[in-house]
Symmetry: C2
Subunit: 303 residues, 2 copies
């Protein structure tokens, strides 16, 4: 099953040339999930050939502009481009008030429904459960209420061993129960154990998105063993005081977190505009956690 | 005196690859005036080397998202980049409510003052008068209240004829009154008429910005004889019904207006995303008004 993330924006508070504010799009089994939506996100989607019409879920971590100012434009463009199917939107309770006010004054009545789920940043909630994935919120420690999002792939059904089924001429109508783990009994009453006809599916993968937070152990337990951990790394560690003051993380701290929670791979982003190039941020993180990558715009990472 | 406009965005409602929503920046005697601020305007400024910190006046024509969704991000970046001097903002009365709500929830207190002037779209008002320019609003005919903006260069003082002043050894302390049109009397009581010591300054130029409007004679008188007329031209004329329905103008109509008001030059913009290339729009306008240009992003036009 496809499970990958494409970076649309990697900048913190102010954009700089070639770095847009935060946004990412996940492709999970060919459904798109948008995570944060900084100004210019819809332009970035055009640039990187991401079809906005395929997005059915949008998640907003918090109400600092660099994480949501592209949302009203995107919602409006979906409407103008003929969207009819509902859109699920998850974010701080006040987000809907901001959207409603702007559509009121532009006299816009969307042709599709926004199903809004206000997120409580004080506790972790499971906010999406479908056949592919569950999504839960990660309470973070920022200047205003802020949550990350943890995407857990659903455990898939067992995989059929096609050659063996063919050899034993197992009728197709038994395949579903076999996938679910049942044994197979043939017409003569002979029982075949499930594990000679199927194998276990792949271990479900998890993607943890931790935007805008102070280094704070409170959420480490929840992101344990993430296959891919995206963590903000706004500053180099020589600015740790500034990071603490503004409730952000340094590249070194992001790497320490990845190590501590036993992540398989770390992706750092949300870079301060003061860094024209990102090499130093990457080197600092890799000095602690070698398997680190940069959340560069346009790049896709497989979870 | 410098009087020029740089295009930052040229797209109508939805952006397309390489065309951002509407925004322009005027440089009038080295002061920058921003006109409309669609999503991504601050990124466009970075791209075209326009220093946002030099902007002291921002004008918003109306509250459709493609004309203002970049504003909160820009105001926020100015704050984060240390702006202290006040900023004058002109736009629909509800604009400030939209801005305030977003800064309330992001817990942002700007370090500089926004001096907000609510614009009444029902009548023309002079909203700026300074030593370089006067700006008046142009009531347009759109689906929601909308105004254009007319920038009239101030008449400059008369120009001194340096050679003549030197020959007659006119003392420097008379220069200011000469520029204002007074005659000069020398120590012996001899009177020199002003017009042998000075010449008239250049005729003041005007720039008319007409965003989002139905073809409607109501505003033609006000933009008469514009040196540079920017007019929206959302559609080709084969879509005039759609233009009427959505209160927009066709390229042909924009050219007819330029002809009718005796503009010296026409600039068309606000192109529908349906037009991948703009040649047909330009050709259509030029068939009626040859001196027409396209408001292409990054281009600068001298008024």
């Amino acid at each position: 099953m496809k499970f990958e993330v494409t970076i649309l924006g990697s900048s913190s508070a102010t954009p700089i040339y070639n770095r847009n504010p935060t946004s990412q799009v996940l492709n999970i089994n060919e459904r798109l999930y948008l995570v944060d939506c900084g100004e210019g996100t819809q332009q970035q989607m055009l640039r990187f050939d991401v079809r906005a019409s395929r997005i059915d879920h949008i998640f907003i971590s918090h109400l600092h502009g660099d994480h949501y100012l592209g949302l009203v434009g995107l919602l409006s463009s979906l409407h103008l481009n003929g969207r009819k199917k509902p859109l699920k939107l998850f974010g701080p309770p006040q987000l809907m008030e901001i959207i409603d006010l702007q559509f009121k004054y532009s006299e816009t009545t969307l042709q599709y429904a926004i199903e809004f789920f206000p997120v409580d940043a004080a506790r972790s909630q499971v906010i999406v459960v479908n056949e592919d994935v569950t999504v839960e919120t990660i309470p973070l420690d920022h200047r205003i209420p802020c949550t990350g999002f943890l995407f857990r792939e659903k455990k898939r059904l067992r995989k059929l061993l096609k050659d063996e089924l063919e050899r034993l001429q197992v009728p197709v109508e038994f395949f579903t129960s076999l996938k679910k783990g049942a044994d197979y009994t043939d017409l003569e009453g002979k029982v075949y154990k499930n594990d000679i006809l199927t194998i276990d599916s792949d271990t479900p993968k998890t993607y943890a998105y931790c935007s805008d937070t102070l280094f704070n152990e409170q959420y480490f337990g929840q992101i344990n063993n993430a296959d891919l951990l995206y963590h903000e790394a706004t500053f180099l560690h020589n600015m740790v005081d500034r990071a603490n003051e503004t409730h952000h993380t340094t590249a070194l701290q992001a790497a320490q977190i990845a190590l501590k929670v036993n992540a398989k791979r770390l992706l750092i982003g949300h870079f301060s505009a003061r860094y024209k190039t990102l090499d130093e941020l990457l080197e600092e993180a890799q000095s602690v956690f070698p398997n680190t990558g940069l959340a560069i715009e346009g790049r896709t990472f497989v979870v």
